[in-house]
């Protein structure tokens, strides 16, 4: 074994998740078995990425993350005329965490208080919520669906 490059690229959680989902689909289609140790690691990572509080929790239904939304997010952040530019690492953290408040945003951005004033912090949070959605929106969407289902009388629920 020889390590050619210890860090060839950084991956966002979305890319890893997508890779795992694709692998699973392919293996199912071709009726292939993955070696047990790799299978364990892959299912556990997939479980972690699709569990709370990961923003990919509802990815399968909502498909909020996609290459298009990621470039849209970058575009919007560039258009927002922020006083200080976000680094690649900070953008990666934003994608992975999807901060829904300024407190959470400060975990993704270094020295946030000094680099951005309150207006700009809120602006960033708003852009994130607009492009990537938010946990509440995901939940809300579901509730709305449920309410719709309730509104329609069906044989199953006894109406």
């Amino acid at each position: 074994m020889k390590i050619l490059e210890s860090q060839n690229a950084l991956l966002s959680n979305y890319e890893v998740y997508q890779h795992l989902v694709d692998q699973r689909k392919r293996n199912k289609a071709q009726n292939r078995r993955v070696p047990a140790n790799a299978h364990q690691a892959m299912t556990e990572v997939a479980k972690y990425l699709s569990g709370k509080p990961s923003p990919l929790e509802k990815q399968e239904e909502t498909q909020t993350y996609s290459p298009a939304t990621i470039s849209l997010l970058l575009e919007k952040l560039r258009e927002a005329n922020l006083p200080s530019e976000l680094t690649k690492g900070e953008l990666l953290s934003i994608l992975n965490i999807r901060p829904s408040s300024t407190a959470l945003l400060s975990t993704a951005i270094e020295d946030m208080e000094e680099r951005f004033d309150d207006d700009n912090q809120n602006k960033i949070v708003d852009i994130i919520a607009e492009v990537l959605g938010s946990a509440e929106a995901d939940e809300g969407g579901e509730e709305a669906d449920e309410m719709d289902a309730d509104a329609v009388p069906t044989v199953e629920n006894g109406y």
Partner: protein, 203 residues
């Protein structure tokens, strides 16, 4: 949190794998060698990402193995310093809190890195963060966010056998030789700061 690492390795395909197409046999081989394993100073390997290059397969003398030199990339769990990730509280003690993600268990937050004003409650065996007369609990199994501060590597190569010590007269038996039980890769984290600690607090 995850990175890609480029590796060159010799893949040996056993004859009973010849029924598989080459790329599948290579992939399975790499996955079984690297999947869920820690490589020192690299991180916890998850699975193969892609195969970049392969040589011709060569059969050596003596066995039927096909030897192929392969260059490939693997997905590796290696959070960078300062990154914030989510994990679950597994265990608590006066020394600090042990965290785990679904796939990685060796994360520790020492008591010095808990939010200021945190106290350990021995009767319930949990930490409480007291701020402005408000008590917030670090419950077991709660999802928390922490910041990666340091990482520690322990090579798992077997240590040489311990030479027998002469037991002085009168004592019962020799002290047990130290066993290497250190995990290969541990992460130390911090939970003091805005946005860190239980996820519920910040919603």
């Amino acid at each position: 949190m995850f990175i890609l690492t480029k590796v060159a390795d010799l893949v040996q395909i056993a004859p009973d794998d010849f029924r598989k197409p080459s790329h599948m046999a290579i992939e399975d081989n790499i996955n079984s060698k690297y999947g869920n394993k820690v490589v020192q100073k690299i991180g916890l390997c998850i699975c193969l990402w892609d195969i970049l290059w392969t040589s011709e397969g060569l059969i050596g003398q003596g066995d039927g193995m096909v030897n192929i030199n392969v260059e490939f990339r693997v997905v590796v769990f290696r959070p960078y310093k300062g990154e914030v990730i989510a994990a679950r509280i597994m265990d608590q003690s006066p020394e600090g809190i042990n965290l785990a993600t679904d796939f990685f268990d060796d994360i520790f937050v020492p008591w010095t890195e808990l939010p200021e004003g945190s106290e350990f409650e021995p009767s319930d065996n949990l930490w409480i963060w007291k701020e402005d007369d408000q008590a917030m609990y670090f419950d077991d199994n709660e999802m928390v966010r922490f910041r990666v501060i340091t990482e520690e590597w322990h090579d798992q190569t077997p240590s040489k056998p311990v030479e027998a010590v002469e037991v002085p007269e009168g004592t019962e038996e020799a002290p047990a030789p130290p066993i290497n039980t250190k995990p290969p890769y541990t992460i130390t984290g911090s939970m003091s700061g805005p946005g860190l600690g239980c996820c519920l607090w910040w919603e």
